[in-house]
Symmetry: D2
Subunit: 344 residues, 4 copies
């Protein structure tokens, strides 16, 4: 598979390059950056030196890029992919967008939360949370790769919603992400001295991953679900932990809960069920495509707390994108993704 | 005031020494450690060198220590203070316990959560969350200094509970603490390589600060409140952020909320009301006795999110203990506590 | 003393505000920033909230600022102070410059290393490494506050150079600084994800603090000293450790070395001599004006290794500036600087 | 190749498991731990869950382990390997020791620096700094894997020593290592709160890697070399940067220097020559087997500064051990070691 990366100089783009370079059946075709056109990617990311010796080109030549590629990954801020997707509708190249443009069934939800008009509302995109939508992913030509927080949050509660074990009201997702999630652009809040030894919430009550989580929760619950979602900024490079709270329906047993998780995930390569009482740690999934899940029940409150840990750049972005590529092209799903977590 | 510190080699003990040494009206009398009796405190904590040149003694000589002290701070694991408190009942020395022994009105709650018999159930201790119980603190002879998580969590929601603006069901406190909260003992989970670049929950559904928070919430709500409390371990030295979720009662306005906070805290030296939309950061209170409070309302869910930041070793332990000492001895409450936060 | 801070929004400027606010004999007059004129400093640095409620003004009004001030601190990049210094030559206000403009006896050295013409070569500035030049500081009207690396490096070896115990050839200073040293401007290399879990040298063989260190070494050695100076970037907020290597002259004993350090520093409030075999740690001086010094002799190589730790924002910048102010105005030298280090 | 790991629960042991599990031609046979015999390795290191489902056994059964293995890695503190090595002298299993026991040509050097008698002085071990001793490694039956600091330091200066471009006097290696280098045992100095936001030197003038570096320097210089070696503790998990200082011989040109590096390393898979002026960063080699080398010349001092970065757990321990295994068994040297560095 010849793969191109549009927007290769962000953290997700660079992580895609790492994964694609080590993928036995993929080959990197073109890599682009509008701000650094002409530069060697290894001069911007010296960790790639000796392995990826390509120069960045401009996405202005998107038609040529498409002609040289079997698949194009788009790792740009929202608003760009929908132009490319529309433009390449009739080409043969498959598209995997890591941004928000194509994640919503209803483009009005996108417009409401992203405050921008959707330019390609007719598109038929598949939502690529691989474990949940594998069948659709197989046939996808245009794939919307899920957000980092959303991947982590959706996988945590969907088994319980599907099995009807929790109430759909009063669901709270309190999530914490490493700083790569804030991207590589120059912002005061992203400086070392701003993040180190610090911790804070942000985007309270208005983060864009909220409707994306609700969309999946609602689908699996079979009813509209409105949640509280609060992201926080962790002083680490990588990793998301979502602490998810839901009220159990009356009489639900621990056995039913365990069964619900196993029914959905027991055969999943990338999901590790740690079971009742386990508290997943982000370092145990670092630099890997794993999802670690643990849960606890509080009898005093009748509530379940599900904790879910991923690496935001891998399962939360580039890794899941490659996982989707594998499914779309008929490779074994874990091809090129069998990296063990890096610990410590 | 001559002040002694029983258990001076833990992090809270050492922080007490820092604060007492800089306190214009206090003088350090005795400092004890059973494991390091005879050693110079400055050899264990070289940051104190040149300022505190005392040696550690044993608390076996508690009667002599009491005779030389106006106030004794106890910074030991739970279970010890109740012996000392009972033993010194009839002495003149005032006692400020930084542990859990005397925090509960009902000693059976202590016994249930701490799994140990209470040896001094007759004691009349004052719960020293200074801003809420200042009048009682003035006359206290035996004071129970609140826990770190509890200080942060209680101050966040009590104004709303007192004003009757939130429902008492479905309160969730998702809290995150720096690693000094885990103490200085040698545990695998406290190693640098275990904590750094990591994040996890712990004590889910069974942390001992839960009933302490509930005790205060219940008192100010005027009814029994049962909450969900989840602590997490942050890869920072100091700081707690509590993200507190509560369902607003119907029709409650932002103005009412603001008013509730101001009614209780507008004149408090150590509480900084950041207001609606503010997300407090732990680094902005580091090494100080401040509490930074911010809040947001989510109209979609009818919920309020109150965020509260403290330094767990200062307002969450040693600082509040000194604040209580000031009140107990009639000093200005902020004496020796006017340190500005250290940023960055 | 009415003190103004020109360039109050950098890290050194903000640290000056912290120290001045807590100084019992100083009062903050004007604070300036050209990029944020009109803003409240507490909105940019919320840790100052409730304590410093001033707005930033422009240094365009330097004459008015001077009229309202007894002392002006300049915390700007090099090249600005020499204009202000020249302009205010005949005013009564004292000036303490935290930048490089006035640090060199020979303005040509400045011009060679800073690649800019000196606009005020006639100025008579005192070099304010307080412990070494206290007498001159007393009478200074224009004071050049030393650089952070230089303070740390000079104090480490000057006693040995003065006592003639080490050779002046083959002196190597391998220094490591926290990230506040890189300032608060938006640079890729200052992002959290660039610095965290990373370490590197920079400015190898050409860092501007080199000639400043050499100037002091040469003066105390009584001959020209050329050194190797290599700075590195540490993933911490604050702190510098300088590891200084020098060849001992034949026959020099440990007793002579200890004596040399004590002769110069035994009575210094801010210098803590840890002695032979001690390895100072930057965390033991954090947020304080202390300098911790330790040393070791290697008999195999005939070399001494002197290690010196400071907080780069305090003794390396704002703290030493206030120390100099105290000396210039006849206060006790440690006034407002008795903060204990923050540990952990 | 069936590979066993003696001492699998330390950081180097666990890293070996990560690398061996991903090695296409290796299979993990036995893993041992005396303190955790019987436990599942994945319960101690949950990042291995789902991939390595083995239980720890005791090395008491070393004969059986040898019978089931083609190669045994020993990742124990010094003093143990020499017993195992002696015991298995006549078995067919190959041994790769990650400790210090077999690193010295002269066992008296070992005894002098490690303060313990050598129990197997007759052993014929090969020193496995692969790039320098590849031919001997091919035929090794007993291999001494180099230390972490030594790997980094030796590779930095050996090309210059071999080419005779630097003086052998006044060589100084100022090295900085991440905290995994201190191991996983419970020590106060390894606690998060001891290391975080801190930095210090240790083992000044007496670290055991000194004679190991000198042994290689001397061999390539053709004369006895005595160096100054100073290690420091970095607040990061992984990575070593060695800043190496040497006086250039008269007249040596930059071209000669570049040539010396290229002559030795141009064809090495794992060595990336960054060239003159480059400052290698430890994050650019993280979790990989790469060595990044950069250098600078100071005309003022006539000195060269060579900077070398590795991951101490990979090229500094487990990675180089696997590299040696590959050479010993005739695999391509990079088999199972092509992991890209993890950045950020």
């Amino acid at each position: 598979m010849k793969a191109s990366v549009i927007g290769a100089t962000g953290f997700a783009g660079a992580e895609l390059l790492r994964l694609l370079e080590g993928h036995p059946e993929a080959e990197i075709a073109c890599i682009t950056s509008e701000s650094s056109t002409g530069e060697a990617i290894a001069s911007m990311y010296p960790h790639l030196a000796g392995r990826i010796e390509k120069n960045l080109t401009s996405m202005q030549a998107i038609d040529e890029i498409a002609a040289q590629s079997d698949v194009i990954f788009i790792a740009l801020p929202h608003g760009h992919a929908m132009k490319i997707g529309k433009h390449l509708r009739d080409s043969n190249v498959k598209i995997i967008d890591l941004g928000g443009d194509y994640r919503f069934k209803d483009h009005k939800v996108f417009e409401e939360w992203y405050k921008v008009e959707h330019l390609d509302p007719e598109a038929k995109a598949v939502y690529g949370l691989t474990e949940l939508y594998r069948e659709q992913v197989k046939d996808a030509k245009l794939l919307a790769n899920p957000g980092c927080y959303t991947t982590c949050s959706i996988l945590a509660l969907v088994p319980l919603l599907k099995a009807g074990l929790i109430e759909t009201k009063n669901i709270i997702v309190d999530a914490k992400s490493g700083t790569t999630g804030a991207g590589r652009s120059l912002k005061l809040g992203s400086l070392y001295c701003s993040v180190n030894e610090n911790f804070k919430a942000y985007g309270v009550a208005n983060h864009r991953h909220t409707p994306e989580i609700e969309q999946a929760y609602s689908e699996f619950a079979g009813e509209d679900v409105v949640i509280q979602f609060t992201p926080h900024l962790l002083p680490v490079d990588r990793g998301i932990l979502a602490t998810c709270y839901a009220n159990l329906k009356k009489g639900v047993t621990n056995a039913q809960i365990a069964e619900a998780f196993e029914a959905m995930y027991a055969d999943e390569y990338f999901i590790r069920l740690r079971g009742k009482g386990a508290c997943p740690e982000i370092k145990n999934v670092r630099a890997s495509n794993y999802v670690d899940l643990g849960w606890q029940v509080d009898k005093r409150t009748g509530r379940i707390i599900v904790m879910s840990a991923i690496d935001n750049l891998v399962k939360g972005a580039a890794g899941q994108a490659v996982q989707n590529m594998n499914v779309m092209f008929g490779c074994a799903e874990y091809t090129g993704l069998q990296h063990m977590p890096i610990y410590p």
